[in-house]
């Protein structure tokens, strides 16, 4: 039942911004995870996942975020998410993932918090 995730990636200052679209579920998580983990494998990396194009996230997607958060912690980097729609926001709250990964209202908020000038 997975929709295609076309993840775009851009650099804003020293931060990488990943912008997946559609559903992040058991089928679409692996390619996202394959881009996320190498980014966070670099020491001190800052990665923001922009969820503005994401309609739904399943446990597999959440697990990828957990792996990302662990990798960030190990390598002294930072991982955050932003612009969750109402459904995704509820799923973060219910699964308590809002306590695992910092959640910001929008991309600017995330970038200014993670990359202080």
């Amino acid at each position: 039942m997975g929709g295609m995730v076309a993840t775009s990636e851009k650099k804003v200052g020293n931060a990488s911004v990943l912008s997946p679209t559609g559903r992040v579920d058991v089928e679409t998580t692996p390619p996202l995870q394959e881009r996320l983990l190498p980014l966070l494998g670099q020491a001190g990396a800052v990665v923001v996942i922009d969820f503005s194009g994401v309609s739904y996230i399943s446990s597999s997607g959440l697990r990828a975020l957990m792996l990302g958060a662990k990798e960030a912690k190990a390598k002294g980097g930072k991982l955050a998410v932003c612009a969750l729609n109402e459904t995704v926001s509820e799923i973060f709250r219910i699964s308590r993932f809002n306590q695992v990964v910092p959640v910001y209202a929008d991309l600017n908020g995330a970038l200014s918090a993670l990359t202080p000038t």
């Binding site: 089928e27 697990r63 219910i94």
Partner: protein, 320 residues
């Protein structure tokens, strides 16, 4: 088949304390202030309509023990946690006139909270009774003998009057126990645990506790999806939040409400009962988890019919 929950708490009994009772009273009186009630029926109506279950009741404190009351002349029980004491008392009160004193026990695993009720199970002391303890583990009897031995308990295992048999079940086979078709599956838990699927009278129920699921890695091909397929009831260990289950409590051998709903959705199960509540959780937080789980079930449903979600409590009865 009728399912009765005698113990629903995980890990350790968690009795309701004075502070919790006082807090429930205070809350109820606050909500009732300014009202008057003509009779007890009016009070019951107020409780039913104005208070939640978590406010007016309790999810209970006994450890795992669930009864499947089948159209059969033998008893069928899952696990021997502290809840089995009250089941034994019900047996002794003569509540089962149509059943023989034959008790078939399906053991998930021999961790302490799943065997601790057995020394207080009165029918085990009575000659003429038969207790058959089934499980996927081949050394279950050691655990039972050991908890009856000195210095942990005053009555040695050898003093028990009932005839007690231990039977190892092969997960590759289907078994006939107390008239039910029984399948079992090995689960991810320290020292292994086993989940059971029983079918009887056209109904199917699954008892799957003390199991950690790596479902998020495997999707539809995950064998538990078939094990839960179209079940009328799935009793599921949802002890932790997903965040805890995959982080600080990874490999602690338990699962979450999120995984429970996803598995049941994929399997087309009809009803999910959250089980093995964390002894650190009070009634309010277990009630909140239930509300959240129902919300998540709606969000995750996507064109499926509703999965009915319940939270187990000591005393809950479900007729399938």
């Amino acid at each position: 088949m009728r399912i009765r929950f005698w113990g629903t708490r995980g890990s350790l009994p968690a009795p309701l304390g004075v502070a919790a009772v006082r807090s429930k009273l205070r809350n109820a009186l606050r909500k009732a202030s300014g009202r008057s009630f003509a009779d007890d029926a009016a009070i019951d109506r107020f409780i039913a309509s104005e208070l939640t279950f978590a406010e007016a009741g309790t999810f209970g404190g006994n450890t795992s023990c669930v009864e499947a009351d089948l159209d059969s002349d033998e008893h069928l029980i899952f696990d021997l946690g502290s809840g089995v004491r009250e089941f034994g008392n019900r047996v002794m009160s003569g509540a089962y006139p149509n059943k023989k004193k034959v008790f078939n026990i399906l053991m998930s695993h021999p961790h302490w909270d799943h065997i601790m009720g057995f020394p207080f199970f009165v029918p085990a002391y009575i000659p003429g009774h038969t207790i058959r303890i089934y499980g996927g583990h081949s050394t279950l009897d050691n655990a039972f003998r050991r908890q009856h031995a000195e210095p942990s308990f005053p009555v040695d295992y050898s003093q028990l009057g009932a005839r007690i048999e231990f039977i190892t079940l092969d997960p590759a086979k289907t078994h006939d126990i107390a008239g039910a078709k029984v399948n079992l599956m090995r689960q991810h838990h320290t020292g292994d645990s086993y989940g059971y699927r029983i079918e009887h009278g056209g109904k199917a129920m699954v008892y799957s506790t003390d199991s950690e699921h790596k479902f998020e890695e495997t999707g539809d091909a995950y064998p538990f999806v078939d094990f839960f397929r179209d079940a009328d009831l799935v009793i599921f260990d949802a002890m932790y939040s997903l965040a805890d289950a995959v982080s600080i409590r990874e490999d602690w051998g338990h699962s979450s409400n999120i995984i429970a709903v996803e598995l049941c959705h994929h399997a087309g199960a009809r009803r999910l009962c959250l089980f093995h509540h964390d002894p650190n959780s009070d009634d309010r937080s277990i009630g909140e988890v239930l509300v959240d789980t129902r919300k998540f079930e709606e969000l995750a449903r996507e064109g499926r019919l509703p999965l009915d979600v319940l939270s187990a409590y000591d005393g809950l009865e479900i007729t399938l």
